[in-house]
């Protein structure tokens, strides 16, 4: 309170409640002229501006750069609490930007794919999803996290099913079943932890766990609960052996949903896992219980196998979806290094992927609508010349995923590489990064070549309307973000490292 203004102090609470209230009010406003979507976009931009201001206030506040916000009249172990630091502020800013650009970029494709009666509820769900992501970012209480994970799950599954059709219903059900297994495991683990520590607040749990570890009491239940919560959140964030649901869900839904799910929903769960590792257990306990090795190995496997699966896809959206599995592997590799640098690199990769993947999905959507709504890779031949912005987006996204210098992916891969030098697995991690980059190139380069190939026959068939101004604007914004992250990421990385230090 002393360092930062009261306005900035209230921002975490205000942003969550703004999103919630806009979700609640959306069913009441008239469902015409796309008013609900405009409202969502405006509220998300306001929250984004607020998060940016919070970030500014936190970085200029001197020594103490985190603060706790009591939700109610009671101090922390009794009431709920939010906690904000630089990392939380950066992530909520990125989430807002990515959400806004995904919505804006797919404004017209949303109109085509979603029945008018459903658009209203689609906006409710998007708002709830954003609110739950913000709450997951800011919460300091494990049970609040569970409740918002559930909101996130239901909203995410229903924005898969928002596009009518048999395939989306099937994909949503698969996603839902896997998610429910995950949240069941998380719930059991939270109950075990509550029984062991008697707290639900993260800091107090941390203190109790430290005591348990030093006295070597209850080590077995502690290990089991850590394993359960890790597996539960890994299922929800599509770490490889648990990722079978992802391509269906992300490949079949409407473009806006795919972009939001791939870019943001996975990241919310990964961030809550990082918070549990850093804030509840502490990195030394994680190391003592050997969970870092498991995460590291799963991350490496996901990086390779996700890319191998992506190679075999013919549908461009499914290809990008499998590539998400590989990218989630990168993030878990960083988490598995179990150092501050590793986790900071993982957070940077979260940010990079949260901006690049929506761009790829938006670009793929634009290209396939230019090709008459065909999703097969070969149907996209020559579409670059029909929708240049989408083509540029796909090329930039592909370069970024391959790790070409000056693109966003390069920065995060470089920082992952640098972080892995401090760990005992350095050889493995470098080999996996190299192999996965080559594999990424193997499926992204053909896609780029296909869209750049001139084909006279195909171009005659392209009767799609020209892309809207909004689409071009959001593509431009995505491209600028991409280059910004690729070229000027060092200040951001320093900020994230500070944030991880005080997490």
């Amino acid at each position: 309170m002393n360092e930062i203004s009261m306005f900035a102090f209230n921002i975490p609470f205000v942003s969550i409640f703004l999103m919630m209230i806009s979700a609640i009010i959306t069913p009441l406003i008239p469902n015409r002229n796309r008013l609900p979507e405009k409202l969502s976009c405006w509220v998300i931009s306001i929250v984004g501006v607020l998060s940016a201001y919070l970030l500014y206030a936190l970085t200029n506040s001197g020594q103490s750069i985190t603060f706790n916000f009591a939700m109610g009249h009671f101090p922390a172990p009794w009431g709920n609490e939010l906690r904000a630091g630089p990392l939380e502020a950066v992530l909520s800013l990125v989430f807002c930007i990515a959400m806004l650009l995904s919505l804006l970029g797919n404004f017209s494709s949303t109109q085509e794919d979603i029945a008018p009666a459903r658009r209203n509820i689609f906006c409710v769900l998007v708002n709830l999803l954003t609110a739950s992501l913000l709450a997951l970012t800011y919460t300091n209480d494990l049970f609040t996290a569970y409740v918002f994970i559930e909101i996130n799950t239901i909203a995410a599954c229903s924005i898969v099913a928002v596009k009518e059709g048999a395939e989306t219903v099937r994909a949503a059900l698969r996603y839902l079943v896997m998610s429910l297994v995950g949240s069941g495991l998380v719930m059991i683990s939270i109950c075990l932890l509550y029984g062991l520590t008697g707290h639900l607040l993260m800091q107090n749990m941390h203190g109790a766990i430290q005591v348990l570890v030093t006295t070597q009491n209850y080590m077995m239940p502690l290990t089991v609960s850590l394993a359960l919560i890790t597996v539960g959140l890994a299922i929800k964030s599509a770490l490889y052996p648990f990722a079978a649901w992802l391509p269906d869900a992300h490949g079949s839904s409407t473009n806006a949903s795919s972009a939001i799910l791939s870019g943001l929903v996975l990241k919310g769960h990964i961030f809550i896992l990082i918070k549990i590792f850093c804030r509840v257990f502490g990195l030394d306990v994680i190391h003592a219980l050997r969970m870092d090795t498991v995460i590291f190995i799963l991350g490496v496997v996901a990086m390779i196998i996700g890319s191998v699966h992506a190679l075999r896809q013919k549908n461009v959206k499914r290809m990008i979806a499998w590539s998400s599995v590989a990218q989630v592997g990168y993030i878990f590799l960083g988490v598995g290094l179990n150092t501050i640098a590793g986790i900071a690199a993982a957070c940077l990769h979260i940010i990079v992927h949260a901006t690049v993947k929506p761009m790829l999905f938006t670009a793929a959507g634009g290209l396939s609508s230019a090709a008459g709504h065909k999703k097969g890779l070969h149907a996209l031949m020559g579409t670059f010349y029909v929708n240049r912005w989408a083509g540029l987006g796909l090329i930039a996204g592909a370069c970024s995923m391959m790790g070409v210098p000056a693109f966003a992916g390069f920065a995060s891969k470089l920082s992952l590489m640098l972080a892995s030098f401090d760990s005992p697995f350095v050889a493995w991690s470098l080999a996996a990064l190299a192999a996965s980059s080559v594999l990424n190139a193997l499926y992204y380069v053909p896609a780029v070549i296909v869209i750049m190939t001139h084909s006279k026959d195909a171009q005659k068939n392209f009767t799609a309307p020209p892309p809207t101004k909004l689409y071009n604007f959001s593509m431009l914004a995505f491209l600028i973000l991409n280059f910004y992250l690729g070229l000027f990421c060092m200040p951001l990385l320093r900020l994230i490292t500070r944030g991880v230090n005080v997490l």
Binding site: M6, F9, N10, F13, F17, M20, I21, A23, I24, I25, P27, L28, F69, A70, M71, G72, H73, F74, P77, W78, G79, N80, A115, A117, R118, I121, F122, V124, L125, L128, A131, A135, D141, F143, T144, V147, F148, E150, I151, I154, A155, C157, S158, A161, V162, E164, A166, I188, L192, Y194, G195, L196, T197, G198, H199, Y218, M220, P221, V224, S225
Partner: protein, 317 residues
């Protein structure tokens, strides 16, 4: 007699195992050709017309791709995983703090304050009500939002049937037979609905004094609506509780919840004085915001549960 018993047993066994009459030859009515995506018309010369049922085709498909081994492997592995998980958890449980012991870690200073000062700080006689609606109100707000999310999602998913085919009911709902002249049902309903409504209101309003509260009371209220719909028909209920009413009432109730709790969070976090009076413990009008919040939650729950029932049985509200 014995034969009959065996038949019944076989039927029951098939029902349990899911081998009962297949949907394709059972559910779809023969006379009106239903416009469903999964019924391909035989006259369409390009479509396949399947003689075998889906289950047989599925088994053939498994055979064809050599997936039987994989499928049984998957089952075996799942069982193994679950057994391992159960054994691990049992071992864990054996290590846990002993059941019902007062020195367990969970009985710490947090609980002492809830019990000792809870009545003074929240004004609620029911400590759990004070806990969930005042101390940890953000969780409970999240939980109401889960219900709201689910209601919106179910409304979206199920009401699509109606937007496609405005007149026809989907084949799943055609078994729903409704008799308008069931005198016994209507008589009992007319007697019991007021009682149920009163009971629900009592549970909601006494949420801060006795067991119960918004959720349980709302569930009771919704049973009255469901009974009314079954006795007098959905049309009668629709006259005063339509989809629009549902959306407006839930959204408004949740909005009141959000705004009042937002006020309380805001004043609490910024150490401002809150104008909400606590009242005397044990009175009906006490416990600050808990009573109005219980009423809001009750409205949301009653509407949502009735909405689920109506949407599932009729496809509309």
């Amino acid at each position: 007699m014995n034969e009959e018993l065996r038949n019944i047993w076989t039927q029951f066994f098939n029902w349990v195992m899911g081998n009962g009459p297949r949907p394709e030859n059972e559910v779809i009515p023969p006379e009106p050709p239903p416009a469903l995506p999964f019924t391909q018309k035989p006259e369409d010369k390009y479509s396949r017309f399947h003689e075998a049922t889906l289950k047989e085709r599925y088994n053939q498909w498994l055979e064809l791709h050599g997936l039987h081994i994989f499928s049984s492997l998957y089952s075996g592995l799942s069982v193994l995983t679950c057994i391992v998980i159960v054994c691990l958890l049992l071992a864990t449980v054996a290590e846990l703090p002993p059941f019902g012991h007062e020195r367990n870690p969970a009985n710490n200073e947090v609980i002492r304050r809830y019990v000792q000062y809870g009545w003074h700080e929240t004004g609620a006689q029911n400590i759990v009500a004070g806990l969930i609606l005042d101390y940890r109100a953000f969780d409970t707000f999240g939980e109401s939002s889960v219900l709201f999310t689910a209601a919106c999602s179910v409304l979206m998913i199920l009401s699509a049937t109606r937007s496609n085919k405005p007149d026809k009911k989907s084949p799943l709902m055609r078994h729903h037979v409704f008799r308008k002249d069931d005198a016994i049902l209507q008589g009992i309903a007319s007697l019991s609905i007021p009682v149920i409504l009163m009971m629900g209101c009592v549970v909601v309003i006494n949420g801060h004094l006795s067991p119960g509260g918004g959720f349980s009371g709302g569930a009771i209220l919704s049973t009255a609506l469901i009974l009314a719909a079954n006795a007098y028909g959905f049309e009668r209920v629709h006259e005063f509780f339509s989809e629009r009413t549902f959306i407006v009432s839930s959204s408004t109730a949740l909005m009141i919840y959000a705004l009042s709790k937002g006020y309380s969070f805001f004043t609490g976090a910024n150490h401002l004085h809150s104008i909400i009076p606590k009242g005397t413990v044990g009175d009906i009008l006490s416990a600050g915001l808990i009573l109005p919040l219980d009423i809001c939650v009750g409205l949301i729950v009653a509407g949502t549960l009735y909405g689920f029932y109506a949407l599932f049985s009729e496809g509309e509200m």
